[in-house]
């Protein structure tokens, strides 16, 4: 009896795997289940975690807060100087954009803020779930950014959630362009470099332009990160 159950369920699983590799619509009915059960719980846990984190912060003593304040003041001062330098670089960026007749700055792209409510439950892949979905206008293949850099791409969408494959995931490949030389290349995630906080940079055009450590690369105009010698 048990063997029949095993064979039956295995056949069902294989059937689903084949179906889902050929079409995207298979996940439909299952996503409804996920909506009703898991996602609200994860959002709840996320909120509780945030609240507990806030409570923990309230227990810091006044001395600690004052020391932090002086440190932050120094940071603010250095940031103001850096900001001034960046303003100058911005003018150069505008000039480069005009050269390429790119008329949309990524700051003009429509953006929605979201929270991460779950991370991949295994150690092999790097995907996470956010709490915005098709009801908020999210669709597959949309880019996901954090701060000022690209962190991933949306692979699946439900009504109130979306699954994002991060750029450091082993199967991620993104075409990018080095800003200083305008060379194109491919940036791919790699599991073996993940622990060193690096991703792979490859297939660059073989021409005379040199790329040096510290150059920034970008996906069109979305910035990925600064280039580091591997």
């Amino acid at each position: 009896m048990n063997r029949y159950l095993l064979i039956g369920l295995s056949v069902f699983c294989i059937f689903m795997m084949l179906l889902s590799s050929f079409s995207d619509k298979v996940g439909g009915p299952f996503k409804v289940v996920a909506n009703v059960t898991v996602i609200p719980l994860q959002q709840g846990i996320n909120q509780i975690g945030g609240w507990m984190g806030d409570m923990k912060d309230n227990f810091q003593t006044l001395k600690q807060v004052r020391a932090e304040n002086t440190k932050l003041q120094k940071q603010v001062d250095s940031l103001i100087t850096e900001n001034n330098n960046l303003q100058q670089e911005r003018y150069e960026l505008q000039r480069l954009q005009e050269l390429y007749q790119l008329d949309k700055n990524y700051a003009d792209y429509k953006k929605t803020a979201a929270h991460v409510i779950g991370k991949d439950s295994g150690n092999w892949f790097s995907t996470f779930t956010i709490d915005k979905g098709s009801k908020d206008g999210i669709a597959t293949d949309m880019n996901v950014m954090a701060g000022s850099g690209l962190v991933g791409i949306v692979t699946e969408v439900g009504p109130t959630w979306a699954k994002v494959r991060s750029i450091i995931d082993d199967s991620s490949n993104v075409s990018a362009m080095v800003l200083s030389t305008s060379d194109r290349c491919i940036v791919s995630g790699d599991l073996s470099l993940m622990s060193d906080n690096q991703i792979r940079f490859g297939q660059m055009e073989n021409n005379d332009n040199t790329v040096s450590v510290g150059d920034r690369s970008s996906l069109l105009i979305l910035v990925i990160n600064t280039y580091r010698e591997s």
């Binding site: 048990n2 294989i14 298979v26 299952f30 994860q42 439950s121 092999w124 892949f125 199967s171």
Partner: protein, 156 residues
């Protein structure tokens, strides 16, 4: 009698859900060197050798299915994997005694090791990524050790 069975099913579902939620929320913060333990595997294997093949299979199937829906690339992959793990652990039900810790530890270690190997074979080797020793050292073995530690805490 029916009520008892219904309660048992409900408790099982709750345990699986709780394990899954813990795995993808809290356990991310308990990472050591970037490795999390695999609580879903522990729950599936435990139901397998404690309650038999059928319960092990069903728990594995549903736990794998939830994982697939949210985090899998093809639907059914983790479901099949955990289904088989649940079934194989269920084969050892006759050998299981409540007080003994060696059998659960051994079964969970072997399940965890096979889980890592199969994921490597199907997801990485088939993409011509032959860096097996690296994955063995950095992911399979640390995950194995961490899962064993969690099992020891759980059975005490």
């Amino acid at each position: 009698m029916k009520l008892m069975k219904f309660k048992r099913v409900a408790v099982t579902v709750l345990i699986v859900l709780a394990a899954y939620l813990l795995q993808c929320t809290l356990f991310n913060h308990l990472e050591l060197a970037g490795i999390k333990p695999n609580l879903i595997l522990i729950v599936t294997a435990s139901f397998g050798f404690m309650r038999g093949q059928k319960e092990g299979m069903l728990v594995g199937f549903f736990a794998g299915l939830i994982t697939d829906i949210q985090f899998g690339t093809i639907l059914g992959f983790y479901a099949l994997l955990y289904l088989v793990i649940g079934f194989v652990n269920g084969l050892f039900e006759q050998l299981y005694f409540d007080e003994d810790i060696k059998l659960p530890l051994f079964l969970i270690s072997v399940s965890e090791f096979l889980y890592g190997i199969i994921i490597y074979l199907l997801m990485f080797m088939l993409r011509s990524d032959f860096n097996f020793l690296y994955y063995l050292n950095r992911i399979i073995v640390p995950e194995l050790i961490y899962t064993i530690v969690i099992t020891l805490d759980y059975t005490h």
